[in-house]
C-alpha cells in the first residue's frame, strides 16, 4: 500500500472519538435498514434485489439502445441530452451555457458524479460560483472536504464542529442546536435559490422510455434546485439508466430502505423536461449531461461490469467493519467504503492505490446488504490479482511475490511444509500457548505486525500430523 493510505489510516486509528462517532452513526443506519427490510416490512425484499440486479444487468448489456431511447425521449419532452467523455467536457458545456445565459451563480443538489469530476473546482476556476444545497454537502463545501459518506457527507462532524464552522464562515452567532443550525443554512440557501441562474442536480435514475430524471432526497433542496432557477442541468453517469418508468417501483422500494431505512424518502421528484405551456413551474431550459468518465471501459469486463449497478445507497459503507474503523476520508477517491474499493481501481487503474482492494477482511457484509446484489468480495479478489499482475509488470513488491512462490513450493511438497513447521516450532520452543513479545529473531515482518495488536499463538510442540503418526504407530 502507499504511504499516504497508510498514514491516513493510522491518523484515524489515533482518533478514538472520531471512530466512535462513525461507528455509532453507521450503526444507526444499519438498524434502520434492518427494520425496513424485515419479512413483515418488505416480504418480497429478496425478490426485489434479484429483480433490481437483473434490470441493471439487462440495461447495461443494452446500454447503447437505452441511451438512444433516453436521448430521444428527453428531446421529445423539449429538453436536450449532452454526452460527455470527460469532466472537462462537462465543465465546457456548463461554461458555454453560463455565458449564453449570463449566469454567475449555480446552485447544486447532491451529485456524486459531479464530485467524481471535481465539478465545483472546475467551475470556480472559470469564475462561476457553485453552491451545494444539500445540508451535509453545504457543510463539507465550507470545510473544503470531500463528502465523508455517499449518503451522509458530514457524518464525521459534530454539531459543535458545525457551530464553529457556521460562525467562522457565515458570520452568524454561535448556535449549538441542530434545528437552529438547519434554519441558518435554510436562510442562506433560500437567498441562493432565488438568485441562482442555473440549477445543477445529479440523478438517481434516468428513465429511458419517458426521458425522466428521478431524484430522491429528504430536504427538498433538489426540488428547489431543479425548479427555482430558470435552467436545470442534471449531471449523471451513463449507468443511471433504467428501461421503463414502471421499473422505478423496484428501485424506489430498495433505495430508501437500504440507505436510511425509509420506505420512501421525503421527496421523490420525477422531472421530464422544461416547463410547458400553461404550466406554473419548472425551468425554461432542461439538459441532461451524461458522463462516460471511464464507464465504457468498465463495461468491457463482463464480470466486474456489475460494479456499475450501484445505486449509491451507502449500505455497504454502513455495514463495512473497515469503513467503520477508517472512515470515509481514508479512501483515495470520492467513492469510499466497499463500493469505492471496487470502483476506484477500475476508474483510476490498479496502482492508483495498490493497497485499496486489500483493505478488506472479505467478510462479505457488503454483498449481503447490497440492494442490487453486487458481488463486491468477488470483485475485490479479482482486483487484488490485477494489482499483483500490475506490480509484477512494474517490478514492484518482488519480495512478497518470492515469499508466496516459496510458500507455494512448500505447500505442494509436504515434507518441506512439515520441516517449515518444525523450524517455526523450534523458534518459539518452550513458550506459552500465546506469546506477548516475540524473540528478536522472529520479531519482523508479518509476525511483528501481528504482535503489534495481539498476542501471538506459538506453534504447537507436536503438530497434528505428528500426533496422528504416533497414535497410528501405537495402535499398529
Amino acid at each position: 500500500m502507499s504511504a499516504i493510505f497508510d498514514e491516513k489510516i493510522r491518523k484515524v486509528a489515533a482518533e478514538p472519538a472520531l471512530q466512535r462517532k462513525v461507528y455509532a452513526a453507521t450503526g444507526r443506519l444499519m438498524d434502520h435498514r434492518r427494520q425496513a427490510v424485515t419479512e413483515a416490512a418488505l416480504p418480497d425484499y429478496q425478490e426485489l434485489r434479484a429483480r433490481a440486479h437483473e434490470l441493471k444487468k439487462h440495461t447495461l448489456e443494452h446500454l447503447d439502445h437505452y441511451l438512444e431511447q433516453f436521448a430521444a425521449s428527453v428531446e421529445r419532452n423539449g429538453g436536450q441530452v449532452i454526452f460527455c467523455e470527460t469532466g472537462d467536457e462537462v465543465a465546457d458545456f456548463l461554461t458555454g451555457l453560463s455565458e449564453r445565459r449570463g449566469a454567475r451563480l449555480l446552485v447544486k443538489s447532491k451529485s456524486m458524479t459531479s464530485e467524481e469530476i471535481d465539478l465545483n473546482e472546475r467551475l470556480e476556476r472559470r469564475q462561476l460560483e457553485a453552491v451545494e444545497t444539500d445540508l451535509g454537502e453545504f457543510i463539507v463545501q465550507m470545510t473544503g472536504e470531500r463528502p465523508y459518506h455517499i449518503v451522509a457527507p458530514a457524518m464525521h462532524l459534530s454539531r459543535h464542529d458545525v457551530a464553529d464552522l457556521f460562525t467562522a464562515k457565515l458570520g452568524v452567532p454561535r448556535e449549538e442546536v441542530i434545528e437552529a443550525q438547519t434554519m441558518i443554512a435554510r436562510r442562506v440557501l433560500r437567498e441562493k435559490f432565488l438568485q441562482a441562474d442555473i440549477g445543477i442536480s445529479g440523478a438517481n435514475f434516468l428513465v429511458a422510455d419517458s426521458g425522466a430524471v428521478v431524484l430522491v432526497e429528504n430536504e427538498g433542496n433538489a426540488r428547489l434546485t431543479t425548479s427555482a432557477p430558470p435552467v436545470h442541468v442534471a449531471v449523471a453517469g451513463i449507468e443511471k439508466l433504467i428501461p421503463r418508468a414502471q421499473d422505478l417501483a423496484v428501485f424506489l422500494k430498495l433505495l430508501g430502505r437500504s440507505a436510511t431505512g425509509q420506505a420512501l424518502t421525503s421527496y421523490t421528484s420525477i422531472l421530464s423536461g422544461p416547463r410547458r405551456e400553461g404550466e406554473l413551474d419548472g425551468p425554461e431550459e432542461f439538459y441532461v449531461v451524461l458522463l462516460d468518465g471511464g464507464r465504457s471501459k468498465l463495461l468491457a469486463d463482463a464480470e466486474k461490469r456489475q460494479s456499475l449497478y450501484c445505486i449509491r445507497c451507502g449500505a455497504c459503507l454502513n455495514h463495512c467493519p473497515v469503513y467503520r474503523k477508517i472512515g470515509g476520508h481514508s479512501f483515495p477517491w470520492v467513492y469510499s467504503g466497499p463500493i469505492g474499493a471496487i470502483l476506484t481501481p477500475q476508474f483510476q487503474g490498479p496502482l492508483h492505490e495498490p493497497g485499496l482492494p486489500f483493505a478488506s477482511s472479505l467478510c462479505g457484509a457488503c454483498a449481503e446488504v447490497c440492494p442490487v446484489k453486487i458481488d463486491i468480495p468477488k470483485i475485490l479478489l479479482e482486483l487484488r490479482a490485477e494489482v499483483k499482475e500490475a506490480e509484477t509488470r512494474a517490478g514492484a513488491n518482488r519480495l512478497e511475490r518470492l515469499a508466496f512462490q516459496m510458500w507455494a513450493w512448500a505447500m505442494t511438497h509436504p515434507a518441506v511444509y512439515e520441516l517449515g513447521g518444525v523450524l517455526a516450532a523450534a523458534a518459539l520452543a518452550g513458550q506459552e500457548e500465546y506469546v506477548r513479545e516475540l524473540p528478536g529473531l522472529v520479531n519482523a515482518g508479518p509476525a511483528k505486525a501481528w504482535a503489534s495488536q495481539r498476542d501471538v499463538p506459538a506453534p504447537a510442540a507436536q503438530s497434528f500430523r505428528d500426533w496422528w503418526r504416533q497414535r497410528r504407530g501405537g495402535r499398529a
Partner: protein
Amino acid sequence: MPARVSLFVTCLVDQLFPKVGIAMVEVLERLGYRVDFPEAQTCCGQPAFNSGYWAEARAVAGHFLDTFRACDYVVAPSGSCIAMVTRHYHDLFAGDPARQAEAARLADRVWEFSRFLLEVARVEDVGARFDGVVTYHDSCHALRELGIKEGPRRLLQQVRGLELREMEIAEECCGFGGTFSVKFPEVSGGMARTKIDSILRTGAQTVVSIDSSCLMQLEGTLRRAGAPVRTLHLAEVLARR
C-alpha cells in the same frame, strides 16, 4: 461398516492448534466413523488466492484436489477453507475445465465439521458435557458463503451444562481476514477490540466458533487485553464429556 471420513485439518490447526484436530477425531470416532488423515495434505491455497497470487494458489489448490480425490467424505474444522474449495476453486481455475470439473466433483464431498454432524451424521446431541457460559462467534465465511448460522448453535444447545448467551454483534467480523490482519494491523486490531467488547458484555467465559483463524485473532486480542475469556473450537467443546 461405518463410513470412512477423511480429515482435512487445515494448515492452521495442524501447526498451531492440533488439539482441534484431535477433538474432531474424538467426536467422529465416538459417532462410529472410521477416520483417516491423508498425510500429503497441506493447505487449501486461500492465503495466496486472497493475496492476489493466483498462480501460486492454483498450484496449492491442485495439490489439495490431488490429495483428496479418492475420498468419500472430507471434513474440516473450518468454514473458510471449505468455502475456498466449494465457492472459489471454480473462479481460481477459470480456463481450466478439467480442474474445474474436479473441484465440482469434490465440492459435494467436502464438509465443514458442524454441517457434517447435522446433515450427514444427523446428530444434534453428541453426548458432550461442558460446564460454563459460552457465546458463539459467527465466522464470516461460514455465515455468508456457506449459510451456516443455526447449526453450530443447535449443537451447542445439546451440550449438558452449557449455557449459550448471544452477543450483540455475533455476525460482525472479528477482523482477521488472513493477510489483512498483518497488512492493516491497526484496523484489524480495532475490529477485534470492538468484537471482544461485545463478547465481554455477555459475561461468557468462553467464545466458541467453527474457524480457528477467527479464534486465533480473538484469543490473541483477549489475552492482550488481559481479559479472562478463552476461546474454543466447537469440536473441542463437543469432545468434552
